[in-house]
């Protein structure tokens, strides 16, 4: 299987390479010519030639030198007497023969014997070639080149990483290179990294003023790496001069307080998104439990129905449009209504089949729906397997936005926004539509409502299906944040019951406050007290909270008892 895939891959690479080669004229960039010269130079001049590559900007340098150092670079002799530096790979037809991939352009070297224009690659027998020799001085030279090669890489993120690495190495010899780069560098992110790296190296500068300036610059830049270096410097013997110590301490303080703030807002954001997930789950519960007085222990499983619906829609999109198509990235939009409807239908069946007989017996409805939840879990296991299923986030939900070092993941942002939208929708539905009026009428007095002509049965069905559908939406959202498996419903259900209990009954605003509160407090406590402690404290906090609500949750004030 693996072999087949490899073959496929190389075939594809070959085809692509030939296509490119056929189109573009072989205009060799100056950097590449210098590389070629260094590779082909006589051994005595090679060290100097390689060192000459420092700071030269060319994408082929890094792979060529990396292969050479690893002893995987070969000089392939051609009939015209020229030699092409190349790496070897198995031939696409799966035989013993190897093809040579030129390190200069990454394409397979065509067979000179074949007809011009044909794509037949040059085949090489294994062990017929010897890798290019390396010596210790050569390897050192190559290491030095590779160390700084990234600074000139075309990709800004690679540049940034290698610049940060150079800064960490604290070698003064890199200073000229970095400073030269700073003059021509355009990307602001890389410029920041460059300034940090220069300042980092300058921490060990012989000049007192340069050192002070570097400390101040790093403090200003909130560099985390600098903070740990500062601590080392402060603890060193002999300690730095007094004014430098003061500068170090001040800069350290600045950095630490900055990151404390960043972490706080990061936690707050995560808490807000966790609370939003909780809110999505709890809203459905607030309707079925709060308004209808029905304890639906299978609510978590209705949520899982929504999550698996998302999974099915995703697979459908893959098989219809393909996994790499643009259309695939919109599967999630299509999955939302599907999840809602699927969960609502299951909820409807549950209401008709069981719950309608138990409206007056809340404890019994709790037990019966628990039974349903067990059966549903087992069904998920049998249909989708016991393991978690793979859900790929669409491109527009991946990654994050950074604001002043605080990262805002797009999927979390989406959940917060979506929850806000759903809350608004539910509020509208309950307070501004005739169905909402009927719902509230039936919830307040079932018998009276049916006396005045409200079809209570139908209202019950609709309300329950609506609450279940909301659970489905929550499940679809959760599929973008965490694992989707048969047991995922149980993970969140108790938390969301807590939300409904503490938020007040049938109270949308109460649910919002309670879920955001529980989600945020849990997240903020985690760094201080550990991962589980929030969950442990919540029920106790709720019981304590109920202590000062006189008469419990529902102060009775009717003429008769109970």
């Amino acid at each position: 299987m693996l072999r087949f895939l490899l073959t496929l891959f190389y075939g594809f690479a070959l085809w692509a390479g030939c296509a490119v080669a056929a189109e573009s004229a072989p205009a060799v960039a100056p950097g590449r010519a210098q590389l070629l010269a260094a590779l082909l130079a006589p051994p005595a001049e090679q060290v100097a030639a390689i060192r000459g590559l420092v700071g030269v900007e060319d994408a082929a340098i890094t792979p060529a030198l990396t292969a050479w150092r690893a002893g995987e670079l070969y000089l392939v002799p051609l009939p015209d007497g020229s030699r092409v530096p190349a790496t070897l790979a198995p031939a696409p037809n799966g035989g013993e023969q190897l093809v040579a991939l030129s390190v200069l352009d990454g394409t397979a070297i065509p067979d000179p014997a074949a007809a011009p224009g044909s794509a037949t690659p040059l085949l090489i027998a294994p062990k017929s070639l010897k890798p290019l020799d390396t010596t210790a001085p050569l390897r050192r030279a190559m290491r030095d080149v590779l160390e700084v090669a990234g600074v000139a890489d075309p990709s800004p993120s690679v540049r940034r990483e290698s610049i940060e690495r150079l800064g960490q190495s604290r070698k003064p010899e890199h200073l000229p290179l970095l400073q030269a780069r700073l003059v021509i560098e355009k990307s602001p992110v890389v410029r920041t990294a460059l300034a940090d790296a220069i300042a980092f190296i300058q921490l060990a500068d012989s000049s007192h003023t340069v050192r002070l300036a570097a400390i101040a610059a790093l403090g200003e830049a909130h560099s985390l790496a600098a903070a740990s270096r500062f601590k080392e410097l402060l603890a060193a013997t002999p300690p730095p001069p007094p004014d430098e110590t003061a500068a170090l301490t001040a800069a350290l303080k600045k950095i630490e307080s900055h990151w404390k703030t960043v972490n706080f807002f990061g936690d707050l954001f995560r808490g807000l998104s966790a609370g939003s997930v909780l809110l999505l789950i709890a809203l459905g519960l607030a309707i079925t439990f709060g308004l209808m007085g029905v304890i639906n222990m299978a609510h978590g499983e209705l949520m899982v129905v929504g999550a698996y619906s998302t999974f099915v829609v995703q697979n459908l999109f893959v098989s219809v449009f393909g996994a790499t198509s643009t259309a695939f990235h919109f599967y999630f939009i299509a999955a939302l209504p599907v999840a809602f409807v699927a969960a609502a239908l299951v909820g409807l069946a549950l209401e008709r089949g069981i719950i309608q007989f138990l409206y007056k017996r809340p404890l019994e409805s709790l037990l019966a729906t628990w039974g349903v939840s067990l059966a549903l879990q087992q069904t998920f296991r049998l249909v989708f397997g016991p393991a978690n299923v793979q859900i790929n986030a669409p491109a527009w939900l991946q990654g994050s936005a950074a604001l002043n070092d605080v990262l805002f993941a797009y999927n979390r942002l989406f959940v917060i926004g979506f929850a806000a939208l759903v809350v608004f929708g539910v509020w509208l539905a309950l307070n501004r539509t005739s169905l909402g009026l009927l719902v509230r009428a039936v919830m307040q007095n079932r018998q009276m409502a049916s006396c005045i002509g409200v079809r209570a049965t139908r209202v019950n069905m609709c309300t329950f299906a609506f609450g279940s559908g909301l659970a489905g939406l929550a499940g679809a959202c959760l599929s973008q944040l965490g694992n989707v498996g048969p047991g995922m419903g149980q993970l969140h259900i108790i938390d969301s019951f807590m939300v409904v209990v503490s938020g007040g009954v049938g109270n949308v605003l109460g649910s919002v406050v309670a879920s955001l509160g529980i989600g945020t407090v849990d997240q903020l406590l985690q760094p201080i007290l550990g991962a589980v402690i929030g969950k442990v404290l919540v029920p106790f906090a709720i019981i304590l909270f109920l202590q000062w609500r006189p008469g419990g949750l529902f102060p009775t004030r009717s003429r008769s008892l109970d």
Partner: protein, 385 residues
């Protein structure tokens, strides 16, 4: 209007003679005859209950005590506690600590410390473990730890008049939170592996048939004793008050009774007794881990009671036996069906058989009476035609 059947007076006799007989006979058979047959008869004898059978019955007896507690709270007092497995497991853990220390140097690591502590790099036994070397301290902890947790939770919950499904959900959250805590290694109780590999209790080898028989007899006697205790509680005025609280707590409140104290008393008492059952359960199955205190376990105990028949004392015992026998059969015969079976039991019992199995004979009887009264009428109708 038909005159209703005479209901029991406020102070019924504890047991009638027939009731005494039907209590003592099975107790005698289970606690005396079976273990004697097991000890005296040769291994292949037809009448000899196997060691495995006794061990299984002993386990069921501790389950039945757990179920009786659920029933006293739910069937009599109207409190559906989904946290009873927590008290069962706490009793088990308290006794498990003692059993673990009694392993001594016979553990895998040949250390004075329990195996998991060695594995986690403990240097010395934590201070709160020291007293558990004493059997009597552990036995006291078996009663006191669950009772204390129940007291703190119950005091807070009952005084703020949390009841019904709200109380159920909070008890569920309580046991869920506790399970999460015990699952953690740094909580110090062995993480998700819990305690296991026990060797001896009170100096006796836990693997010897004699010790196992002793544990079985202790479990049966515990069940019988708890049955008598609950019988005493549910009769007379206290029992009537419990049921009055179940049916209309406010009315009881306005009759001058501090209902919260009644609930707290029963809640704490049941927690302590359930803890004892848990303590006897652990040496018989040889392991205690946090999965024993999950909400699922509590709900399983509730289904025993619901299936057997709540509001009676015999029902929960029957239910615990029936459902667990069913479970051990189903998990062998068709493991993938077990969740459907227990889920279906929940639904069927709630919808169609609220009285549980124990109400079946009466149902059949009334069905039979109806059938007989109808049959002659139909005959005469046919004859007249």
């Amino acid at each position: 209007m038909s005159v209703p059947a005479k209901l029991s007076d406020v102070e019924p006799r504890f047991f009638t003679r027939a009731q005494w007989a039907s209590f003592l006979l099975p107790t005698l058979v289970l606690a005396l005859v079976l273990p004697l047959l097991n000890a005296a008869l040769p291994a292949e004898h037809l009448l000899r209950p196997s060691d495995f059978t006794l061990n299984l019955y002993g386990k069921y007896a501790t389950y039945a005590v757990l179920a009786l507690g659920v029933d006293l709270l739910w069937g009599y007092l109207g409190i559906l506690s989904l946290g009873q497995a927590l008290f069962f497991a706490l009793g088990g853990y308290a006794f498990g600590m003692h059993l673990l220390l009694m392993i001594g140097k016979d553990g895998q690591y040949k250390s004075d410390l329990p195996d998991y502590m060695v594995f986690l790099g403990y240097k010395a036994l934590p201070a709160h473990w020291e007293p558990f070397y004493s059997f009597s301290f552990a036995a006291a902890a078996v009663l006191i730890v669950p009772a204390l947790i129940a007291f703190v939770f119950g005091w807070l919950a009952f005084r703020s008049r949390i009841k019904g499904v709200y109380l159920s959900i909070l008890t569920q959250a309580l046991t869920y939170a506790a399970a999460l805590l015990f699952f953690r290694n740094d909580f110090g109780f062995g993480g998700n592996n819990g305690f296991t590999d026990f060797k001896r209790v009170l100096g006796a080898d836990l693997n010897s048939p004699d010790t196992r028989r002793g544990l079985y007899v202790a479990s049966v006697l515990l069940l019988a004793g708890v049955f008598l205790l609950y019988r005493w509680l549910t009769r007379a005025k206290f029992g009537h008050l419990m049921q009055a609280i179940r049916d209309g707590e406010n009315r009881v409140l306005f009759s001058g009774y501090a209902t919260a104290r009644y609930k707290l008393f029963v809640f704490v008492l049941v927690a302590a007794i359930t803890g004892v059952a848990g303590a006897l359960y652990v040496p018989q199955v040889g392991i205690i881990n946090p999965s024993e205190m999950t909400p699922e376990k509590s709900l399983e105990a509730v289904v025993w009671v619901a299936v057997g028949g709540r509001g009676t004392l015999l029902g929960p015992i029957l239910g615990a036996l029936f459902v667990n026998a069913l479970k051990s059969w189903a998990t062998r015969a068709a493991p993938e069906l077990w969740l459907y079976i227990i889920g279906g039991l929940f639904i069927v019992v709630v919808l169609f058989l609220p009285g549980g199995l124990i109400s079946l004979p009466a149902k059949f009887r009334s069905f039979w009476v109806k059938l007989r009264s109808k049959a002659p009428a139909a005959e005469s109708l046919a004859a007249g035609h």
